[in-house]
């Protein structure tokens, strides 16, 4: 192929790679705004398998493609734009309703329809990539480089577009990019004049297709927002008015004004007796990507403020006099009002979301609404991540408060998000404790609505671990816990032990508010059999013990207690009291083993505040989904993993149809080819997901973490591929070096990176972004070598298998994504990285399989 033409083809591949990754992220935004982001991740993961399927199918046509690669490229490039636009528009018409999943099996068909619809553009894109790899086998390392760099840049392109366009307009510019791919694919050699030309007819067709596709989105591309999305309720309030609307990479923000908003999270029932009146029309409802609402409070008149004394967040103030307060997260500024009402002499607020800060502090509407609260001389606002602030500040606080910022209390149709949360890890809580004055207090209020309890016991074990990390000898004397049934739970942690006077004051507060004390040093025991309680929590899902139909199943186990005959009463406060007792009495492991849910402490290695499913209880959880609907996030990850394995097998097996003899009898080493590319597919994505999850902590925002890690990994891996291309003669040694480099990088991530991130947390964001690229570099560089090196080996010996290897790698990368998440939830990041080392060593071992010579030729 003419060198200039092939440069145009490389450019086409580059732009197509930009487009596909940007499209993937745009579709995920569409799901986040319209329904539920977890569904979006799942659908896109599976749709990406269209990529793998394309590679597999191309194995059957590789010879035909080689002869007509330009035609294949032109056709797929023209189809990409309408496929992307069409998929977006058609997907909005799907009547999927997550609420009906439990009773209506046809809802599963609609999920299947999403897969099929979104698989189309990815399939077309993958055929383009497969065709270019087959057509330009002599430049595999360059192809791989431009594919990686383009994919990497795609993340940044969509990030930029998110600042400029609302979510339902993001697809349009990508269709424009697809048209550019078409033009770069059309360029051909004018044989008469020996120069390059762009065929006008085909270009005109591409342009018309582009305009029609974008027009389709403009006319009918509005995102359909589920009627069960919280924002849909606000839109039905008769007097609802949009007070604010903005969009950006951190989400689409809507603030609604309505007299129907009522917020007083955890308010004691006693307020109805002792408070004259509740403030009316005191809140705006803020929705981010349709979820929420967060109540944004107006400045109250003094007569309206009395109810604040009946909120759980008022508790620490009964022990503190004019404290210096640190609020971790701004929310709707209720905590700031609370602190000022309780005569705080200074209130520092840490909020990582720049949009929220800008909105509440700078927007004239909100400034008027909250009485310029955030410009009050006593209030200091810091736009950074809580952990970064506590790591870098020299200031010490009498009170550090985290008030109801967890996600398990909101009424969500699809379960709570299964994200990394470094705010509620043992290391995080330890860092907040470090920010306290000698007599200071940490106050954490969370939702207490999960039944059976999950988040509160997990937080108790995490707080206890944090105190142990601080070297506190008797953690129990530093903790006071109270809750309000099916409402909120508050954990107070004091730098010094709570005195008897402190405890008496807090008990008086609990009495006044009806909040239920759950644990403090010296609290009388409920005098119950905790073993029986733990067993009962399990039996209710397994149907064993006292829950068995016969009513005496537990008795036959030989460990029967009275619970076998009469079910033990399950009261959250008992669970909290005894959990604390066991945690303090050295019986933590026994507690974690015996309780049905995973309540091990969240740590920076396993930062999942909402990860409650144990691998051993997966079948029981799946069987009880109707009663454990909050665990949908975990089950969806499982579903993604299972489907990716099924699809992976299909992709691996399809090329074997009718070619068993050729592939396995006449040619040796095919199994090794499979193992090699499967290991690379799983391993690469596990590293990528690990780095995204780990750097969320460092970069303060998942958007930054995702875009920087994806871009840096792909670009640097591309460079690794280019470098590897220079050593074609020494492939075996190259792969060995790459495996050693990968193992060394993983050991660096495992042993050194966590403490380095911790130490550098307080640096400015821009410096941290650059450092993040430096941290990603060693792993990404070496990870970029094995794949193209393997492909170029195949191109020499068995080039018909190139699309197959490409497809397998793509399909198994979805497996790697789901696996990384599930493994890190249950066992932590360290196990993920250890698995990566094992996978790449396995790849090294089987590499010789790529060098097989066909007995009868290819």
């Amino acid at each position: 192929m003419n060198l200039k033409i092939s440069n145009f083809r490389l450019a086409a591949l580059f732009v197509l790679s930009v487009t596909l990754i940007a499209y993937e992220l745009a579709v995920m935004r569409t799901f986040a705004v319209g329904s539920w982001s977890n569904f979006g991740s799942m659908v896109i993961s599976i749709a990406l398998l269209g990529n793998g399927l394309a590679g597999t199918l191309l194995t059957f046509f590789s010879e035909r493609i080689r002869r007509n690669s330009d035609t294949w490229l032109s056709v797929t490039a023209v189809l990409l734009g309408p496929a992307m636009a069409g998929a977006h528009v058609v997907a909005q018409a799907i009547p999927f309703n997550p609420v009906m999943l439990a009773v209506d099996w046809t809802q599963l068909l609609w999920i299947g329809a999403y897969y099929l619809i979104y698989a189309v553009p990815f399939f077309i894109g993958a055929v383009f990539v497969g065709a270019i790899f087959v057509g330009m086998q002599d430049r595999i390392h360059q192809l791989y480089f431009w594919n990686m760099v383009g994919s990497g840049l795609g993340g940044f392109v969509i990030l930029g577009l998110m600042y400029l366009l609302p979510p339902d307009r993001l697809i349009g510019p990508l269709v424009l990019l697809a048209a550019l791919v078409s033009l770069a694919s059309f360029v051909e050699l004018d044989s008469t004049r020996m120069r390059l030309k762009l065929p006008l007819g085909r270009s005109l067709i591409a342009a018309i297709v582009m305009v029609v596709s974008i027009g389709l989105i403009a006319v009918d591309g509005q995102i359909k927002v589920s009627e069960f999305k919280p924002i849909s309720y606000a839109r039905q309030f008769p007097d609802a008015k949009v007070a604010y609307h903005s969009y950006g990479p951190t989400g689409e923000f809507y603030a609604y004004q309505s007299s129907f908003f009522h917020f007083a999270p955890g308010l004691s029932d006693n307020a109805s007796i002792n408070v004259k009146s509740m403030p009316e029309n005191a809140f705006l409802g803020l929705y981010i990507d349709g979820d929420g609402p967060i109540g944004i409070m107006r400045r109250l008149k003094p007569a309206e403020e009395a109810y604040i004394d009946y909120l759980p967040m008022a508790a620490p103030y009964v022990l503190l006099n004019q404290p210096n307060v640190l609020l971790l997260r701004l929310g709707g500024a209720v905590g700031v009002f609370d602190a000022l009402y309780h005569k705080a002499r200074s209130v520092s607020v840490v909020e990582p979301d720049p949009t929220l800060v800008h909105m509440l502090r700078d927007q004239p509407f909100f400034r008027q609404y909250n009485g310029d609260l955030l410009r009050d001389p006593r209030v200091h606002l810091y736009n950074t991540e809580p952990r970064a602030f506590t790591a870098s500040t020299k200031e010490r606080f009498d009170l550090v408060e985290i008030g109801l910022i967890d996600s398990v209390g909101l009424s969500q149709t699809g379960g709570y998000p299964l994200n990394e949360n470094y705010t509620y890890t043992a290391e995080g809580i330890e860092s907040y404790l470090r920010s306290l004055t000698p007599n200071g207090m940490l106050s954490i209020t969370v939702w207490n609505r999960l039944s059976p309890p999950r988040n509160v016991p997990k937080l108790l074990s995490t707080v206890t671990r944090a105190l142990e990390l601080r070297g506190v000898k008797d953690p129990g004397s530093h903790i006071f816990v109270f809750d309000y049934l099916l409402s909120t739970a508050t954990i107070l942690v004091k730098s010094t032990p709570f005195t008897q006077a402190d405890i008496a004051t807090l008990l008086q507060f609990c009495h006044k508010t009806s909040f239920e004390p759950c644990f403090y040093a010296g609290m009388p025991s409920p005098n119950k059999d905790f073993n029986a309680i733990l067993r009962e929590y399990t039996d209710q899902f397994t149907g064993a013990g006292s829950f068995a139909a016969s009513g005496n199943a537990a008795a036959s186990s030989g460990t029967a207690t009275t619970a076998a005959a009469a079910p033990t009463e399950l009261i959250p406060e008992d669970m909290y009291y005894f959990s604390m007792k066991w945690l303090l009495d050295g019986r933590a492991q026994e507690l974690y083993r015996k309780y049905f849910f995973n309540i091990r402490p969240a740590t920076d290695d396993r930062p999942y505040y909402t990860g409650y499913v144990k691998p051993s209880t997966i079948p029981t959880v799946v069987n009880n989904m109707k009663d454990l609907s909050e665990e949908w996030g975990y089950v969806l990850q499982l579903g993604t993993l299972a489907l990716s394995i099924v699809f992976g097998l299909i992709i691996i097996l399809i090329p074997l149809i009718g070619r068993w003899k050729e592939l396995f009898k006449r040619q040796k080493g095919t199994v090794r080819v499979i193992v090699y590319y499967a290991a690379l597919g799983v391993g690469y994505m596990m590293v990528e997901i690990y780095l995204i999850q780990r750097l969320v902590f460092f970069l303060a925002d998942p958007i930054f973490s995702n875009s920087i890690v994806i871009t840096a990994m792909l670009v640097i891996s591309g460079i690794g591929a280019l470098v590897a291309g220079r050593y074609r003669g020494e492939r075996r040694r190259l792969i060995a070096y790459a495996a050693i480099g990968i193992a060394a990088s993983m050991l660096f991530y495992l042993a050194v990176l966590p403490s380095v991130l911790d130490a550098l947390l307080g640096l400015p964001l821009i410096v941290k972004m650059l450092l993040a690229i430096v941290f990603v570099a060693p792993g990404a560089f070496f990870l970029g070598m094995p794949f193209p090196t393997g492909l170029s080996t195949l191109s020499e010996n068995r080039n018909g298998l190139i699309p197959w290897a490409w497809g397998m790698n793509g399909a198994l990368s979805v497996t790697g994504t789901a696996l990384a998440r599930l493994v890190s939830i249950s066992w932590g990041f360290s196990v993920v990285l250890t698995a990566v080392i094992a996978l790449y060593l396995l790849a090294l071992l089987v590499f010789s399989g790529n060098q097989v010579k066909a007995v009868d030729g290819p």
Partner: protein, 347 residues
């Protein structure tokens, strides 16, 4: 030509172009703030007038829709249009055949639904969601299928919540029975429901009490439910006892307070103080907590001591055990969360 097409494409991409259904189209008022390129500000903060909530629109039986606040006024009890205690016969519950025979003679329901209802009632009892004969009879009388939407009629008696539009659901029959048993309304007691929704819960309550009041926030839903009651009021005269209004249930219905029973069927992050105020001494309030697909239920009892002190007792009526396998509540061991108006009392 290519340039023209490119310009057209860019114009179509820009926000606000063409799409009549764009989300931003709902913003109608003028801007009052300094908006950046992607922000739009609507209206100035509204002047707040406590007690001036005027969004209520009364429908049947409502003489005054202004939401009053504060302590309960004198009790107003309108005589029932139809007295449920004056019924001359009740559906037999000894066998399916007898039940079907009686219902086919006395109600407009089809036999297939009646069979499904009978079967569901047996499961409700075996799972101990409800075992009080009065509650079971109310369940067997109420025609759930009348309150389901067209596409879900075949699942009317399935153990599931189902959508009814506007992001609302009709609660599953087990949850409705469980909550109704926890509420245990008597014929002469006044029952307030917050969140009429499909109207099914009110229809069950109307089989148990002569004085049912229900409030719905979504106007369209309030109207469609009103139509259902009107349509069937001849066959079910007890529906004439249901007073309903379209309003914000947060403030209760002060003019008819106090209520002996209050049932809330919509999520909120706290118990509205006005509802607690409007709860009569000894009264019971039942509120589901959690997502539509998996709720637990909070029961609040307002107790008044001999010294006049008021106590609110909170209970989880499922006791941490979900719907499928239910442990019966034992009152003496009930979860306690008691409040008092004496703020200076010692713990």
């Amino acid at each position: 030509m290519l340039v023209v097409l490119l310009v057209v494409a860019i114009v179509l991409i820009l926000p606000g172009s063409f799409s009549a259904k764009s989300a931003s189209a709902e913003q109608t008022a003028t801007s009052s703030g300094s908006a950046t390129t992607n922000e739009s500000i609507t209206g100035a903060p509204t002047a707040q007038t406590p007690g001036a909530s005027t969004n209520g629109a009364a429908t049947a039986g409502d003489s005054n829709s202004a939401a009053a606040n504060g302590a309960p006024a004198a009790t107003v009890v309108d005589p029932p249009t139809f007295d449920i205690t004056a019924r001359t016969s009740n559906p037999p519950m000894d066998s399916e055949a007898n039940y079907l025979k009686w219902m086919l003679e006395h109600s407009p329901e089809k036999e297939s639904y009646l069979q499904s209802k009978w079967e569901r009632a047996q499961v409700i009892q075996s799972r101990k969601d409800a075992n009080n004969p009065r509650i079971i009879e109310a369940f067997l009388r109420a025609p759930r299928e009348f309150f389901c939407r067209e596409g879900n009629l075949s699942r009317a008696y399935a153990d599931a919540a189902m959508p009814i539009g506007y992001g609302q659901t009709i609660s599953g029959p087990h949850l409705v029975s469980h909550m109704t048993q926890a509420l245990d309304p008597q014929p002469d007691q006044k029952v307030l429901e917050i969140g009429t929704g499909s109207g099914y819960q009110s229809s069950v309550l109307a089989e148990l009490s002569n004085h049912v009041y229900t409030i719905e926030i979504v106007k369209e839903l309030a109207e469609s439910t009103n139509d259902i009651y009107t349509k069937w009021s001849k066959d079910y005269p007890e529906y004439n006892n249901i007073k309903r209004k379209n309003s914000d249930g947060y403030y209760g219905w002060a003019e008819y307070a106090p209520f002996d029973r209050i049932i809330v069927t919509c999520g909120i992050d706290h118990i509205p103080p006005d509802l607690l105020k409007q709860l009569a001494p000894g009264g019971i309030m039942v509120i589901p907590v959690g997502p539509p697909s998996g709720q637990t239920v909070l029961k609040i009892t307002k107790e008044v001591g001999a010294d006049g002190s008021i106590t609110f007792k909170r209970e989880d009526i499922y006791h941490g055990v979900r719907k499928v396998i239910f442990v019966p509540f034992t009152a003496e061991k009930g979860i306690h969360s008691q409040g008092t108006e004496n703020t200076q009392a010692n713990p």
